[in-house]
């Protein structure tokens, strides 16, 4: 047995078998190849990968034949034939040539075509064959990229995904029902792995440094997302203890996760909330349609942030159709009703999107084509998404949130498009649903007055706002302070946005990680933010906090905090002096949760 220590970023205890993904299932980038010589090289690269894959399969075939006889080895023969089939490798080669794209992209496109053709036939045997073909495609992709072979994962039911970092495209391919945990070499509290893990309520430990070097696919690991520990090959006593603990776990929202100590709080009447916080609204962040009913009894108003990227990542963009959106948004509107849902339109680009839409990778993607900029570039795709949202809004509870707004022009362009789409659907000349802008770029500090005239509400994207204000990458651990969000340079912006949006009487929903953080949610509350959109797993904690603080203590807290100007002072304040402002049980709980998650 070996024990590793990292940061727990999504609470809970879990056990399962390692699925090690070296670099993710090869993330598929699309490049357009202009130069003829480069295109020839690409074809050569592809042919070499076919040859290498064939050799691999033949070696595998011989091994099987020796062990099990010819009948079994014929299965592999079938794989080799599929690989060499002119409808497979031939079609891929033609696609590279005619579309002038990289081999990886061509493999994905042809694989998807075959999958669709087979799916249409609805023959159960052929459905299984789809996996074979995808397996061949994955093997081929690995060889194109020159990566190590990944071992087949489909036999495992409880998967602990181990990787250097988890990318979204990989998660888009995963069957979440088998995914029980994440263990990652790098990453941060707000990296995408952490955010997704929390929103899926799957335990996760990050910053394990070298776990990818220490485990193999198939190893048994016990992972504690609360304390941030991972036990490789746990001994019998630990496994027994795990089974005992998971027996005791009850699936109700109030009792899941590590915050069972807070469960009594859930049933406390709203009257316990101080009058300064009476108008507080709590929403949830979500990646996929979420049954809100179980949360509504805890006063949840709706989904404050629905990240629509997953809708996109399930299909290559050129295959996206209106129906793909419509189905998800209808489900979402139903599941949340009578609560509202803010659908954030495509927020890809920067670190999130592997498919670079025929472009070469940007030199500086964080400042490049992402969020609304990308959507306006992909106008057809964006229009379909907007239309699907308007069409799905039969319950009148959907709203649109526009990410990465940096100028008024972008909002005006969105409104023109939305008006057009609304006219098509409703026949009337007005925008059919409320529109909101994400405030996450520092330019919005000076734009918020202008934007307020054009939109119905705002959403605060604190993760990006902190990063862009400080020009500091959240995944850049060596220079990352857990207290960055409380720096004076950041607080000033937050204060200003809160004041301006209040002047215009527009709701501003805090969607970023600050709202789910044991310390930073205090800052938001103290500044007067009254709409929080949080990760479902954090609901008990946030409800507890909002019942334990009052207007007076929040004012005192902010006064003291804003008098501090350096990171060491701020850190000391949160770790040692919160007792000056808040009641002791609250402070103890906050510190406990913070330590459990960040130590």
């Amino acid at each position: 047995m070996k024990t590793l220590k990292g940061y727990g970023v999504s609470p809970g205890l879990t056990m399962g078998q390692v699925l090690k993904v070296e670099q993710g299932l090869p993330p598929v980038y699309k490049f357009r190849i202009a130069d003829d010589a480069v295109l020839q090289r690409e074809l050569l690269r592809f042919d070499e990968a076919i040859a290498r894959t064939t050799r691999e399969l033949r070696a595998f075939q011989h091994k099987l034949e020796e062990k099990l006889g010819r009948d079994h080895s014929l299965m592999i023969q079938a794989h080799i034939m599929i690989l060499q089939d002119h409808h497979f490798s031939g079609a891929i080669r033609d696609y590279i040539h005619s579309e002038r794209v990289n081999a990886e992209w061509a493999v994905t496109v042809i694989n998807e075509r075959i999958r669709e053709a087979y799916q249409k036939l609805q023959d159960p045997y052929l459905q299984d064959k789809i996996f074979d073909i995808q397996d061949i495609a994955a093997r081929l992709l690995n060889n194109i990229a020159g990566w190590q072979e990944n071992h087949a994962p489909e036999h495992y039911e409880n998967i602990i995904l181990v990787s250097s970092e988890v990318n979204l495209s990989l998660l888009g391919l995963m069957d979440f029902s088998h995914l029980k945990g994440f263990a990652v070499d790098s990453g941060g509290w707000t990296s995408h792995t952490s955010i997704i893990a929390r929103s899926l309520e799957i335990p996760a430990v990050i910053h394990l440094k070298n776990i990818t070097a220490l485990v193999h696919t198939g190893d048994l690991v016990l992972l504690d997302g609360t304390s941030g520990t991972v036990h490789i090959d746990p001994d019998e006593a630990m496994v027994a203890e795990f089974h005992q603990q998971s027996q005791a776990e009850v699936s109700a929202v109030t009792e899941s996760g590590p915050y069972c100590l807070l469960r009594e709080v859930e049933s406390e009447p709203a009257a316990k909330v101080d009058k300064a916080l009476r108008d507080l609204r709590i929403y949830l962040n979500s990646e996929m349609p979420l049954e809100l009913r179980q949360y509504q009894r805890f006063g949840v108003s709706g989904i404050g942030l629905f990240r629509s990227e997953f809708v996109f990542l399930r299909k290559p963009t050129e295959k996206m159709a209106l129906e793909d959106h419509l189905e998800v948004y209808r489900q979402l509107a139903e599941a949340a009703y009578p609560g509202t849902v803010n659908i954030r339109t495509l927020d890809l680009g920067a670190d999130k999107f592997p498919e670079s839409l025929g472009r070469h990778p940007e030199v500086n993607p964080a400042l490049g084509l992402r969020g609304i900029r990308l959507s306006l570039e992909l106008r057809g795709l964006f229009r379909e998404q907007l239309k699907a949202i308007v069409l799905a809004n039969t319950r009148n509870n959907l709203q649109v949130t526009i990410p990465f707004v940096s100028s008024l022009d972008e909002i005006l362009a969105v409104k023109a498009l939305l008006r057009e789409v609304s006219r098509e659907v409703t026949g009337r000349d007005e925008i059919a649903l409320p529109l909101g802008a994400m405030l996450e770029i520092p330019s919005t500090f000076f734009l918020v007055d202008l934007l307020a005239r054009e939109v119905d509400f705002f959403a605060l994207g604190s993760n990006d706002l902190v990063q862009y204000t400080l020009a500091r990458d959240r995944n850049n651990m060596p220079h990352w302070s857990p207290f960055d969000s409380a720096q004076p340079g950041v607080l000033g912006g937050l204060e200003l946005l809160r004041r301006k949006t209040a002047e215009h009487k527009k709701e501003i929903i805090c969607c970023g990680e600050m709202a789910s953080h044991p310390f930073f949610v205090l800052i938001l509350l103290a500044l007067g933010y009254r709409s929080l959109s949080i990760n479902p797993a954090m609901l008990p904690l946030i409800r507890y906090i909002t019942r334990a603080v009052d207007g007076k203590s929040l004012r005192r807290f902010y006064q003291q905090l804003s008098a501090l100007h350096t990171l060491p002072e701020i850190e000391d304040f949160f770790l040692h002096q919160l007792g000056n402002c808040f009641p002791e049980p609250l402070v103890k709980t906050l510190l406990h949760v913070y330590r459990a998650e960040m130590d």
Binding site: D71, L74, M75, Q77, A78, M81, I82, D85, H86, H87, F88, I114, A117, Y118, L121, D123, Y125, L126, K129, D132, I133
Partner: protein
């Protein structure tokens, strides 16, 4: 051009291994070989395993095969023999 109706008789149908054997056979001939299921429009390339699998031909399925080329007679005879022997 020769055309013949064939029946898939083995219990597993034209599954991966049977399809592999069939394609192994058809690929050895120079003639163009096309399969089709009666009532379906699509014809599949008899030298493509993906095409053969696409027919989803289970036990009892009837197929048309069309063979055209310099060695069409030998090809058809061999294909018939393979169907008759349940793809052994």
């Amino acid at each position: 051009m020769l055309k013949r109706e064939l029946e898939v008789r083995n219990p597993l149908g034209l599954h991966a291994r049977a399809a592999a054997r069939l394609v192994d056979l058809t690929s050895g001939f120079r003639s163009r070989i096309v399969f089709a299921r009666p009532g379906r429009n699509e014809q599949v390339d008899g030298k493509s395993i993906l095409g053969i699998l696409m027919m989803a031909a289970s036990q009892g399925a009837r197929l048309w095969v069309r063979v055209e080329g310099p060695d069409e007679e030998q090809a058809l005879a061999a294909i018939e023999a393979m169907f008759a022997s349940d793809f052994k």
